[in-house]
C-alpha cells in the first residue's frame, strides 16, 4: 500500500494539473464569443471548441509538446450544437480532459463518444428553448412598443435577452464541468431533463399558436356583389373560424416540412407561390374599399 502511494507520487501527473474556476470561466466566455466565428459546412464548430480551450494545454500538459498536439487535434473533430444550452457538453468535455491529464481511465474515445452522443439532443433542446420559445416571446413583448416608435422596446428586448441567455449558458457550462459524465448520464436517466424538455415544448407549442394568430396574416378585402348587397369574404371566413386561413397555411407548412420532408427553401418557394396566387387574384390583400 505504502509502496503504491510512493509509485504514484513519483509519476509526474499526480501532483495534479488542475484547472481553477478562472480557467473554466475563461473557456466558457471564449466559447460564447467564438462559437460561430469560423462556422463552416465541413466541421461546423470544431475549431471554436479548440479556440475556447486555447489556454488549457498550458495548464494540463505544461512543457509536453506531444500531449499538446494530441490535445489540439482532439478538439478538431466535427462538433455542432446550440451554443448556450449545448455548452454543458463543453464543460463536460473539459472535466474529462482534466481527469485524463491526471491519469484517470478516461480515454479520448470516451470524450468523442460523449460529445457526439449529446450534441444532437442538446442542440434540439437549446434551439427549441432559445430561438423557438424565448426569442419570439421577447420579440412579441417588444414589438408593440417599437411599432409606436418607442425605443424602449428594442432596448428591453436586448437587456432581457443578454441577461437570461448569459445566465443560462454560464449555468450550463459549469453544470457540465461539475457534474461530470456520471452526473449528466444520471440526470438524463432520471427523467428530469426529459420533463424539462416536455414542459418547454408544450409551452412552446402554445406560444407558437399565439404567434401564428398574431403574425401570420392573410386578410381579404373582397366584397362579392350579390343582388342589392355584398358578401364580405373576410366576415364570412371569420364567422366560420377566426384566423382560419392563417391557421390552415401554418398547418400546411408544417405538413410539408414534417410529413413530406421538404427542405425549408422548397417550402419557402411554395409559400411564395401561394402568396402570389392569393394576392394576384385579388382574393386576399389590398386595402378596405
Amino acid at each position: 500500500m505504502a509502496e503504491e502511494t510512493k509509485n504514484v507520487a513519483a509519476m509526474p501527473n499526480t501532483e495534479g494539473h488542475h484547472l481553477d474556476k478562472r480557467d473554466v470561466s475563461r473557456a466558457w466566455f471564449k466559447w460564447v464569443c467564438l462559437s460561430n466565428t469560423n462556422y463552416n459546412y465541413e466541421r461546423l464548430m470544431a475549431s471554436a471548441l479548440l479556440a475556447s480551450f486555447s489556454h488549457i494545454p498550458d495548464k494540463l500538459y505544461p512543457g509536453d509538446e506531444q500531449k499538446r498536439i494530441e490535445f489540439m487535434k482532439r478538439q478538431m473533430e466535427f462538433y455542432n450544437t446550440e451554443p448556450h444550452f449545448g455548452c454543458i457538453i463543453n464543460g463536460l468535455a473539459l472535466s474529462m480532459e482534466e481527469e485524463m491529464a491526471n491519469g484517470s481511465a478516461v480515454t479520448p474515445e470516451a470524450i468523442t463518444a460523449v460529445k457526439t452522443g449529446l450534441m444532437g439532443p442538446f442542440a434540439g433542446i437549446g434551439d427549441t428553448l432559445w430561438q423557438g420559445t424565448l426569442t419570439p416571446i421577447l420579440l412579441a413583448v417588444a414589438m408593440p412598443l417599437a411599432t409606436q416608435g418607442n425605443l424602449l422596446g428594442p432596448l428591453l428586448y436586448i437587456i432581457l435577452m443578454y441577461a437570461i441567455m448569459l445566465f443560462i449558458s454560464h449555468f450550463m457550462f459549469f453544470t457540465g464541468y461539475n457534474s461530470g459524465k456520471e452526473g449528466i448520464e444520471s440526470m438524463m436517466a432520471s427523467g428530469s431533463i426529459k420533463r424539462l424538455i416536455a414542459t418547454a415544448s408544450t409551452m412552446g407549442a402554445i406560444v407558437l399558436g399565439c404567434l401564428a394568430n398574431s403574425y401570420v396574416t392573410c386578410t381579404s378585402y373582397l366584397q362579392i356583389p350579390v343582388g342589392e348587397g355584398y358578401i364580405d369574404l373576410q366576415a364570412t371566413l371569420d364567422s366560420i373560424l377566426k384566423g382560419g386561413v392563417p391557421l390552415a397555411i401554418t398547418l400546411l407548412t408544417w405538413y410539408l416540412l414534417k410529413k413530406k420532408n421538404m427542405n425549408s427553401t422548397v417550402v419557402l418557394l411554395i409559400l411564395v407561390a401561394i402568396g402570389v396566387v392569393l394576392g394576384a387574384t385579388g382574393l386576399f390583400g389590398g386595402t378596405a374599399a
Partner: protein
C-alpha cells in the same frame, strides 16, 4: 433622401455585426439574437440615417415576417439581417410606409441567404489551415486562423453588397415602388403576411412531441378568441405544461409499475386456460 457613401458603408457594418458568428458582442447573442433582428437593426440604421424613431417603426414592421425565425445547423431559410439593414435603409430613404417596407424586405431576405452559403463554404479552407497548425502544436496560430481570416472574409462578404445596395438602390426602389403600385404591391404584402408561417412551422417541427399540434391549435384559439398577448399566453402555457407533464409522468410511472403485474397475471391466466383445455381433452 439620398444615402451618402459613408452611411451606406455603416449600414453594411451593421449587417456584418448581425451576421451569425461575429464575436464582438458576445458571439451569437450579439449577432443572431440581437443585431440580426430587424427590430434592433432598424434603430441602428435609423441612427445612421438620422431618424432612429422612424427606423424603429420600420424595423418593427420588417421584423414581423421573421418573428419565429430559426437558424439551426447552418440552414437558413431566409435572412432577416439583410431585410433589417438594407431593407430598412432603402425604406427610410425612399420614405416608404411600413407595409411597403415589409414588401420590399421580403425579396431582399431571400437573396440574403446566398451570403451564408458562400461564407460557410469558404470557411472550410480555414479548417484545413487550422489542422496544419494543430500538427505543429501552434495554438496561437490556430486561434488566429479561427478568428481573423474568417471574420475578414465575412466582413467583406457582408459590407460590400450592402454598401453598394444602399448607395445605388434608393432610386431603384423608388422606381420599383412606382411601377408596382396597386395589386403587385398588395401581392408582396400577402407574401410578407404568410411568411411567418415558415418559421413557426420549423419551430413546431423541432419541438416534435406527440400532441404538439394540438397544443399549437389551443394557443392559436386562445389568442384568436380571447385576444390575449404573448406574455399572458406564455404564462398560461407554462402553468398548463407544468401540470400536464407532471400528470403524464405519473401516468407513465403508474403504467411502468403496473406492467409486470399485468404480465404476471396474463401468464397465470394463460396457464389456467391451458390447464382448463388439458382438462377438456381428458
Amino acid at each position: 433622401m439620398q444615402i451618402t457613401l459613408l452611411q451606406a458603408f455603416l449600414v453594411g457594418v451593421v449587417y456584418y455585426m448581425g451576421f451569425v458568428g461575429t464575436p464582438w458582442l458576445i458571439g451569437c447573442l450579439g449577432s443572431l439574437s440581437t443585431i440580426q433582428k430587424p427590430l434592433v437593426a432598424g434603430v441602428l440604421v435609423g441612427f445612421i440615417l438620422g431618424d432612429p424613431v422612424q427606423g424603429c417603426i420600420i424595423g418593427a414592421a420588417v421584423q414581423m415576417p421573421f418573428i419565429a425565425y430559426i437558424f439551426a445547423g447552418g440552414a437558413q431559410p431566409n435572412d432577416p439581417g439583410l431585410a433589417g439593414t438594407l431593407g430598412v435603409a432603402l425604406a427610410l430613404a425612399a420614405n416608404l410606409e411600413p407595409e411597403a417596407a415589409v414588401a420590399i424586405s421580403v425579396p431582399i431576405a431571400l437573396v440574403g441567404t446566398i451570403v451564408n452559403v458562400i461564407r460557410m463554404t469558404l470557411d472550410v479552407t480555414f479548417v484545413h489551415m487550422i489542422d496544419r497548425a494543430c500538427e505543429k502544436g501552434d495554438m496561437k496560430q490556430a486561434v488566429f486562423l479561427h478568428i481573423v481570416p474568417p471574420q475578414i472574409l465575412c466582413f467583406v462578404l457582408c459590407v460590400v453588397p450592402v454598401t453598394l445596395g444602399c448607395y445605388f438602390g434608393v432610386d431603384a426602389v423608388n422606381g420599383i415602388i412606382q411601377v408596382m403600385q396597386g395589386r403587385p404591391l398588395y401581392t408582396l404584402e400577402v407574401i410578407g403576411g404568410i411568411l411567418p408561417a415558415l418559421g413557426i412551422a420549423m419551430n413546431l417541427r423541432t419541438l416534435d412531441r406527440p400532441g404538439t399540434l394540438i397544443w399549437f391549435v389551443f394557443g392559436f384559439i386562445l389568442s384568436a378568441y380571447l385576444g390575449l398577448g404573448a406574455m399572458p399566453i406564455a404564462i398560461i402555457g407554462f402553468v398548463i405544461a407544468f401540470f400536464y407533464v407532471q400528470l403524464e409522468t405519473k401516468a407513465e410511472e403508474g403504467r411502468g409499475a403496473a406492467a409486470p403485474q399485468i404480465a404476471a397475471t396474463s401468464a397465470s391466466t394463460s396457464r389456467v386456460a391451458s390447464d382448463d383445455s388439458d382438462d377438456d381433452f381428458e
